[in-house]
């Protein structure tokens, strides 16, 4: 008993130290002049299990809200989900105190559907899925268009004429990346596309988080002679970067292509092996939808699809110096062709075989 008492006393004293050095509470925006535009709208966002700090999808969504809170007097509420069964309570909790609630990720589909149905007077937006409720805006991306440009770069950069693709989970959404990428390779380097079309150099990790699996798959592909790999696999892609970096340090010339955000910036120590990244501007989507809400232009029930034309997808700002100007110019020409509708990029790997890109020099 004495020992316990002694322990408690010492803990209390220890706490005293902490209390002593606590910073005084910073006054909020009261002192500085606030030149943001006034609004009484409130915005909330629920992430999937990736949560804050995933350096990719969720962080991009939150970045869009950070931007809106610099322009308007809104303080977005953000809830992370620890597990899939928390999607629904999180969305419900956000609904109570907000006018617009974002659900980030296709996994939220069912939870969003249920919560939106129960609260018809509130507004919702979901990323990467379509929820058919009159108060939900569904925001999707033409990942195949951005991936096509990556395919063009990969097709031009390969020296071995072998290119690989690593996907997260073999499902419709990720297949859009695969199909677009292969179509891009096929447009500029049909020989290199063959082993992608028959899926010999296509690997799926089965999840979006297993870094070791990404490393193994990348090593397999690189060892079979592949020298450029594009990934659409979230955290699995970090394993790809690790493998590429290791081989590069061993004297081989191999490349990786990033996805979702500018990965040469988010994973800076691997920047030297990243050719470029396919940007998926989730931040633009959350920013635009929030702005629409504040300006009373929000359209529930609408399915928004953001492609190259809307700047929803595209090539990252950071491009490896190894990529020559004529390759970039070529990619830019293909971009123009996609934007004006000359090229229609396939969304399913099965359609790539029949796909014929008009030759652009």
């Amino acid at each position: 008993m004495k020992k316990i008492l002694a322990l408690l006393v010492s803990v209390v004293l220890f706490a005293g130290l902490f209390a002593g050095c606590a910073k005084p509470n910073q006054p909020g925006g009261g002192a500085t002049t606030d030149n943001r535009k006034q609004t009484d709208k409130k915005i909330g966002l629920a992430t999937d299990e990736g949560g804050r700090g995933d350096k990719s999808f969720n962080d991009a969504a939150i970045a869009g809200l950070d931007k809106i809170s610099k322009e308007y007097t809104v303080t977005p509420q953000i809830l992370e989900s620890k597990a899939a069964d928390q999607y629904e309570p999180n969305l419900k909790a956000l609904t109570q105190s907000n006018d617009l609630v974002f659900g980030v990720g296709f996994k939220m589909h069912d939870a969003m559907d249920a919560v939106a149905k129960a609260n018809p007077n509130k507004k919702y937006a979901i990323i990467d899925s379509v929820v058919e409720q009159p108060n939900v805006m569904s925001i999707n991306f033409k990942e195949e268009e951005g991936s096509f440009l990556m395919g063009v770069i990969a097709g031009k950069m390969t020296k071995t004429n072998k290119i690989g693709f690593i996907g997260g989970v073999d499902m419709e959404l990720i297949q859009k990346f695969e199909a677009g990428f292969i179509a891009g390779v096929k447009a500029v380097n049909p020989a290199a596309a063959e082993d992608l079309i028959n899926r010999k150099n296509v690997r799926y990790a089965g999840n979006f988080i297993d870094v070791n699996k990404g490393y193994e798959l990348a090593k397999q592909l690189y060892n079979s002679g592949v020298d450029v790999i594009y990934h659409a696999a979230g955290g699995v892609g970090i394993g790809l970067f690790n493998a590429a970096k290791e081989l590069k340090n061993g004297g081989k010339t191999v490349w990786a292509i990033g996805v979702d955000s500018d990965q040469a910036l988010t994973v800076p120590d691997k920047a030297d092996i990243i050719l470029a990244s396919m940007m998926k501007r989730v931040d633009v989507a959350t920013y635009t939808a929030s702005k629409d809400l504040i300006e009373n232009n929000f359209q529930g029930g609408k399915v928004v699809v953001l492609g190259l034309k809307e700047d929803g997808v595209g090539i990252s700002n950071t491009i490896n110096p190894a990529v020559t100007k004529d390759v970039l110019d070529l990619a830019d020409k293909y971009k123009k062709a996609i934007v004006d509708g000359t090229i229609k990029v396939p969304t399913k790997p099965g359609d790539v075989k029949a796909f014929q890109a008009p030759e652009i020099k």
Binding site: N25, D85, F106, G206
Partner: protein
């Protein structure tokens, strides 16, 4: 007369004393855990000690019991913990460490998500079907390591951990493969006939599974202290060699305990799907209720009634993750509190173990 009264007075005192001793460590560990959590809030938010305390406890209270919605959500989280906590408690009582409750729970989830898709069954047939299916699946998943432990002597900890991964990847294969709902990372929703009744309305996820869990607490209590099987299980747990000397089969009881433990965990998975989740989702990691169940059983000292209170504590903490984030305290503080509780409870076990070892040495040397 006087002697009798004295006797009963003494026994009451003894009960109080032993209850006090059992509850002391869990209670101290909870208090210290909360205290450390407050320190982190003070540090992280840069507020004073009392402000930090009120911030944290207000958020936890609002998020767990403070409003009708949060109270309901707390018990939604309590429901699966009742099952996984009991499952771990049964294994602990036999002296086994069933890390595989997570996998047994997962396999229960998977089987229920599959059986729940059968159409054309009335609820009165369908619900017993998924319950039996969940129990059987979990029992097999727990029985395999139990059998291997008893017959070949392989460590149940290693085997159950491996079975966890088999369950998770099997589940992912089926969820993303044959039973995938196109465009979504889950199976289709189970039929209404396989869903447990949400007695507070469709929008509240609380369901009759809670009562099944409470009933199970009573059943496990009866099993432990009112049946021969329970007596044998406890005897093996206390001292397997003494139990064997008394004619109790160690092997039989080990397998039996693992089967019961797995069955309870599998039932938990079935209740989770048919009451709360209504489908099986792709798992990027373990669902987590099985591992939380270890903590619940440890805190409860493997007592069924203790499991109820420990589940409520852990459920309340899980549920308050929302309100904590709303006042800008990261949800990780919940894990911090849970982890410190476990460290302290485990320390209690080590303390006792060392104490017993010393006693033994003293006996041998003395």
């Amino acid at each position: 007369m006087t002697a009798n009264a004295n006797n009963s007075h003494n026994s009451l005192l003894n009960v109080l004393k032993s209850t006090y001793r059992t509850l002391l460590f869990p209670l101290i560990s909870i208090i210290v855990a909360m205290f450390v959590a407050v320190l982190f809030v003070v540090w992280g938010r840069g507020v004073g000690f009392f402000e930090g305390t009120s911030l944290l406890f207000k958020a936890i209270w609002n998020g767990s019991f403070g409003s009708k919605d949060s109270l309901i959500e707390t018990f939604v989280y309590v429901t699966p913990l009742l099952f996984t906590g009991l499952a771990n408690a049964v294994a602990f009582k036999t002296g086994l460490f069933n890390i595989g409750v997570e996998g047994q729970f997962t396999i229960g989830v998977l089987i229920t998500a599959i059986l729940g898709l059968i159409s054309g069954l009335p609820a009165i047939v369908h619900i017993p079907l998924i319950i039996v299916g969940g129990i059987l699946a979990g029992a097999i998943w727990g029985g395999i390591p139990g059998y291997l432990k008893a017959k070949v002597g392989t460590n149940e900890v290693v085997n159950t951990i491996m079975m966890n991964f088999i369950a998770m990847y099997l589940s992912n294969y089926i969820v993303m493969g044959p039973l995938n709902k196109p465009g979504v990372a889950s199976t289709p929703e189970i039929r209404p006939s396989a869903m447990l009744w949400r007695f507070l309305g469709e929008n509240n996820r609380l369901n009759t599974g809670l009562f099944i869990g409470l009933l199970l607490i009573a059943l496990v209590y009866i099993l432990f202290w009112k049946t021969t099987i329970g007596y044998e299980i406890r005897a093996v747990g206390l001292n397997p060699y003494a139990a064997e000397y008394g004619g109790i089969s160690i092997k039989k009881n080990m397998i039996l305990a693992m089967v019961i433990s797995g069955g309870i965990a599998g039932l938990g998975g079935a209740i989770y799907v048919s009451g709360i989740q209504h489908n099986a989702m792709e798992l990027t990691g373990f669902i987590g209720y099985g591992f939380d169940g270890i903590a619940v059983a440890l805190l409860a000292k493997s007592h069924p009634v203790g499991v109820l209170f420990a589940s409520i504590l852990f459920g309340a903490l899980n549920s308050s993750a929302i309100s904590l984030q709303l006042v800008n305290i990261p949800k990780q503080i919940v894990f911090l509190i849970q982890a410190i509780i476990i460290i302290f409870v485990a320390a209690d076990y080590i303390y006792k173990w060392i104490g017993e070892k010393r006693k033994k040495e003293a006996m041998i040397n003395g």
